[in-house]
Amino acid sequence: MTPELSAAVDVVAPVLVLGWGNPSRGDDALGPMFIERFEAFSQASMPPGSVECLTDFQLQIEHALDLIGRVRVLLVDASVELDAPFQVSVPRAARDASFTTHALAPEALLQVYRELHHGEPPPCTLLAIRAAHFELGEPPAAQALADLEQALAWAKRWLRSPPTVEKETP
């Protein structure tokens, strides 16, 4: 990294919460909506500078730079693979074996970090929220919004006391 960009990440909050999705594509909005709600909660309940909340349309290679200097990271996305309202897991760095598109899988993001920085990424937790509908211009479904509430409740507990299990569903 160039010194200037390095300086930009010299002072970072120890906790990063990164959620992604398109706010105007139905349940894909769950990631950004989570971030908006969680940011308000953390600002009201945590010391200034202790939590940074970021959102984007999708997970990308440059987000490996956002992991630098963190103590722990929560990654949040909508998921079409769940029966439960949400699922918590610990992603392990791995090559991007899935045929994704322009976006990275969380596991691949951690692998990019590892290859670029020749070290292990900070401890990351993946919070996947159940989703089903992705039409342009549609709001999230009622079920998705209910699942979001449960995921937020879990995340508030996570912020105060990190879980020790590798995988968790409600």
Partner: protein
Amino acid sequence: MSTSSLETASNPEGLRRIVIDPVSRVEGHGKVTILLDEMQRVQQVRLHIVEFRGFEKFIEGRPYWEVPVMVQRLCGICPVSHHLAASKALDRVVGAMPVTVSADKLRRLMHHGQIVQSHALHFFHLASPDLLFGLGAERDRRNIVGVAEAYPDTARQGILLRKFGQEIIRATSGKRVHGTGSVPGGMNRLVSAEDHAMLRAEVPQMLAWAQGAVDLVRRLHEQNPALYEGFASSPAPMMSLVGRDGAMELYDGVLRIRDANGAMLVDGVDDQRYRELIDEAVKPWTYMKFPYLRSMGAEAGWYRVGPLARLQNCDFIPTPRAEAQRRAFIDVHGGQVVHAALAFHWARMIEVLHGVEVIADLLDDPDILGGALMASGPRQAQGVGIIEAPRGTLIHDYTVGENDLVSRCNLIVATTHNNQAMNEAVRSVALQYLDGQTITEPLLNHIEVAIRAYDPCLSCATHALGRMPLAVTLRDAAGAVIDHVHRSSDGDTVRDRRPHAAEAP
């Protein structure tokens, strides 16, 4: 053999059907169908794009001042291009013609940041694995992680070039994503002194890396000219904006079209008159429209947009390093127009170099740090905004009622312009590589490489976990599924007999 004849087979009911869905590492949903006859020969090839719908419904009825922000949600890959194209169109509605000097330069800075970050992502993340490891390399290596392992400097430079472009966007639009900097009539923010100092300090390194990226793709081309000059070649007219002096112009200019041999067909057409040049055809087998040149008709009038068209449409590039690279590109090809898909990558990297040069010039310009930001004038009901987005010409066309609501809009995105060109490229590859033999992983990748060269944005920013498996369906002459292969989210290949839901019978 002409590839256009492969759009519709004469007797499709008697053919085997192979479906590849979706195309890996391409934005959104797309599938390729290939029909073989009883002799295993390619008879029909189509690229289906299933998600380009609903744009107009999404925008119509909204207040015009919301539109530059809302349209960013049409595409998670190039939101800034939509942001600026909508702003340009709506400048006319509010009578801001022209916008102020500072607003024009700030928008140009933002736009070239978008060009740099998008091209860097495409080349280093999507294309370089194919190019550095070869088109037949095993799947596990063909990704950014494989590049990071084998070529750590290349992967690192790609990420930091992209980061630099995104920092330019943040400094001009106000946010990393969902920026609000550009508005109808101008801009609402200047570049801060802090951002200015940080970005200027980065320029020398970014110029060096951009130059290195051009050199890399040029070396790859020179090592295997037969592949780079012949793979997925589909001669077509080329359309882009150019400056009034013929210069490469990515933000605001006049329309130019050259034929497949480089002869001038149309030049100097005002962007407000785009509908005099092109129309859009509908075909029953896809949701996506097929734009064509009115002067040549729906069948013969398809054309190409994007970096390869822009590079060969302009008379010169108005920045010295990129112009030297443009001349090298032309010299290597003996002055002949190039239509091969892999040449996109070389053109794309020349544009990255040009983009960084433009950014460097603008960062030295005091107008981005001070000056009037908004203009206004007599209100108009309509406005067209055309911009050269990373993937090609992007058209936003609005009508706004007296109640300030958008009553009509028409958007033509670069991937729609290139719809037929991508179909032709896939047909070219299918003819060369899929002659009735087993569909192997390297063969599949050849099709994907041809499509990826166009960097199509097939859908927009829906990336839920687990949403994008790769599936291949094989049907016999009677339409029954005889094989179905898909990838699980962890990369395993799963073979079953389940028909793919997206496939038309």
